[in-house]
Amino acid sequence: MNRHEKEEYLREYEQLKKKGKPFFPYAIAKDGVMFVLVALIIVVMSLMLGAEQGPKADPTTTSYVPRPEWYFFFLFELLKVLKPPWLTPVATIGIPTLCMVLLLLLPFYDRNPERRLTRRPIAAISGFFVIIAMAYLTFLGANAGSPTEIEAKVPASLEEGKLVTAQSGCLACHQIGENGNNGPGPELTEIGLRLPRATIARSLYIGPGIMPSYAGLPKKKLDALTEYLASLR
C-alpha cells in the first residue's frame, strides 16, 4: 500500500465510523449474547461429556494410545503422509514452522490494498485450501483408531510377544500384516527380514525418531516383543 492508498483507506474508514453506532449498547449487546452462549456451551459439554481419567501413567506397562489432543491430529497425520524417516523433521518441525512464519508475515507480503474476498483470489484459494486440508487431516486423525489386536497366526511360543505388541500401542504408528496404521512408523510386517534381532532390540530401547523409548518395559516383556518382531518375515 502506498501513501495515497493509506490515506484513502483512513479517510473512508473515518466516514464509515461516523455512520456507525456506539459500542455501548449495540456492539456490547452482541458480545453479551456471545458470552452467554460460550459459557452455556462449555457448561453443557462439561455436564454431558465429563472429564474421565485414564489409567495412571506408567512407563513399565504398555497399554496406551499415543494420541494427541484432537487439535493436534492434523500434525500427527502429516507424519503419516511424510513417512520416510529423513522426512520426519520436515513434517514435525519444517512444515509447522514454515506455516507459522508465513502466517506471521502475512501482512508484510500481502500488500494488496483490496479487502473484498472476490478480488483477492490467491488469498481466498489459499485460505480455503488450508481450512479444507486441516479439516481433512483432523478427520483422518479422528478416525485412525489404535487397534489392539493382531490377527496373523503365530506359534504358541510367540503368543506372548504378539500380545505385548498388540497392547503396546505399536499399531498406532506401525502396520503389522492387516492391522495397524500405515505410518508414521515403517511397516513391521517383515521386519525380521530387514533387521537382525539385536537391531530391533536396540530400536525398542532407544526409540528412534519420534517413537517413544520402551526401555522402561520389564525385561521379560521386551524380550518377548523382540522375539516376536524378529520372527516376522
Binding site: 500500500m1 449495540y26 484432537w70 479487502r115
Partner: protein, 290 residues
Amino acid sequence: MPDIEKLIPPPLRRPAKPGEGNGNGNGNGNGNGVVDLRQPTEKNGSAATEELKGKLKDSPADVVGWVDERTGASNIVTALALRKVPKGTNWFYTLGSATMFAFICQALTGVFLAMYYTPSPVEAYASITYLTNEVFLGEFVRGMHKWGATVMIILIFMHMARTFFFGAYKYPRELNWVIGVVLIILTLVMGLTGYLLPFDQRSFWATEVANNITASGPFVGPYLADFLRAGPEIGATTIQRFYAIHMLLVPGLIIGLIGAHLFLVVKLGTTAPPWVHASKPKSLRRKDVG
C-alpha cells in the same frame, strides 16, 4: 431519616453543589453550601417522595466520584463505551471477545484446579482422582477446563479466519495480526503442556511422542526437548516444569498480549466489513446496520 452522612468518612462525602441545600453538602467542610431559595417550604406527600428519590439518587457516598477524581477513569470508560463501531459491524465481530471469554473461563476454572492439583509424578494422578471423585463439583470444573480448551481453540481459529477473510490484517492493523499469531501459538502451547498434567497413560505417552517430535528438530531441537523434559526422561521435574509453563509463564504472556491486542483494537477501531463502502451508500442498506 438518620443522618447517614455522618457515618461516611469525609473524603468520600459528596461535595456540595451550587443549588443544593446545605443539609447535603458541606461534608468536606469547605463551607460552600448554598441555601436554595427555591426549596418549597411546605411539603405535600408527592413532593416528599420526590425529595426522597432525589436524595437516594445522589446518595451522599460518592465512591465513584472519589475514584474518578483520582483516576480520571470515567473519561476512559465513557470514551470506550461510546466509541463508534463502523457501519456494517456484524456477528462475526464477536468472535474475538468470545475467544476472550473462553480464556477467562479457563483462567477461573484453572485457579480452582490449582487448589487441588499437586505437580509431582507420585501425587499428580491421585490429586486428580481426588478432585474428580471427591471434591464438590470437582469433575464439573475439570470438565469445564477440559472442554473450555476445545472451545477456545475452535473460537481462536474462527476469529483468525474472520480477520483473514475480511482482510482485517491489512494497514493499519498489521501489528495486531502479528500479536494474534503469537497468541494462537501460545494457546496451542497451553494445550500441549496441559495434556501431561493429569499424568494418566495417555498424557504420559503422548507427551513422550511430543517431546520426541521436538527433539527431531534441527539444531536446537534436542536441547529444547531436554529442557522441556528437564532431563533425559519424563519425571518429577518434567511435571513441575510443564506445570509452571502451563499456569504461570504462558497465561501471563497471553494476558499481556491480549491487553496489547485490545489496546490496538480500541486505538485503531475495528474494520468495517470489506463489502461496505462509504462512497456507495446503496450497499449500506438495512442488513448492514448495527
